[in-house]
Symmetry: C2
Subunit: 152 residues, 2 copies
């Protein structure tokens, strides 16, 4: 297996890394974006845009509409600050923004908890298989549903 070294951030360190990555991408780190990233990062399971909208609304004492949240989540996904979990219609903060590669998500059907694996070898094989079949600009979506160790 191809070894791959990187830092897993959390808390303030993660927010700071996200801020750097976003600015690096030529985008602004606004208060709204900071709040949304902050809320997203508190989840250990995929968060829906509506969940986030509710919490950010509380935090600000003023309603923030889902569409504003979607806009910013889309930006986060585009800039690799967050990932969309397709099988959950929800989002996760990327624990290593700025480090570009495919992730494999594991989501527990019972408690909803999500974790991720990085295995470039595996994801590259999926990419290769798709390209072999004539696909280009491929974006692998690799998620595994099941029971986590705690719920098993």
């Amino acid at each position: 297996m191809v070894s791959h070294q990187h830092h897993e951030h959390e808390g303030a360190s993660l927010a700071h890394a996200a801020q750097s990555a976003l600015i690096q991408a030529g985008e602004q780190w606004t208060n709204m974006r900071a709040d949304i990233f902050g809320v997203l990062a508190t989840f250990d399971k995929p968060a829906s845009a509506y969940d986030i909208a509710d919490l950010v609304s509380q935090k600000r004492g003023k309603r923030v509409a889902p569409n504003s949240v979607y806009r910013i989540l889309d930006l986060f996904v585009a800039t690799n600050l967050a990932r969309r979990v397709e099988s959950a219609n929800a989002y996760l903060a990327n624990s290593h923004p700025g480090c570009l590669h495919d992730c494999i998500f594991l989501i527990c059907d019972n408690c909803g908890m999500a974790t991720h694996i990085d295995d470039d070898n595996l994801t590259n094989n999926v990419r290769a298989a798709a390209e072999n079949a004539g696909f280009a600009k491929v974006r692998p979506v690799i998620e595994v549903r099941g029971k986590c160790a705690d719920c098993d």
Copy 2:
């Protein structure tokens, strides 16, 4: 790569194989189920439950509610007659019902066309990686978004 041989059905042959598989599973092959499978099988791209509801309604000259379609699609997925494409919130007929294994779907972002690859080697590696991380009863979701050969 582990070689894997099976028959790819289409048209009436596919419907017949689906019927056999469903009965094999101890379920009934009703007119409604036949109609829904029939419509689903005409698509070469993932079909939403609402798409199917519309077409089946036409075919029967009587409104069939999405609700009913979902019930039957869930049954089809459980019995391996159909697959859910998570990244499209839609469904595909399984071209080899009765043959149980993980599929890798390729979906074109441009035209929506979907195809699938069977690579047991690859899917088993994904399973193994998840089990290694403490997950049980794993169900891999492997989809690749990109541009198909025609749209490239």
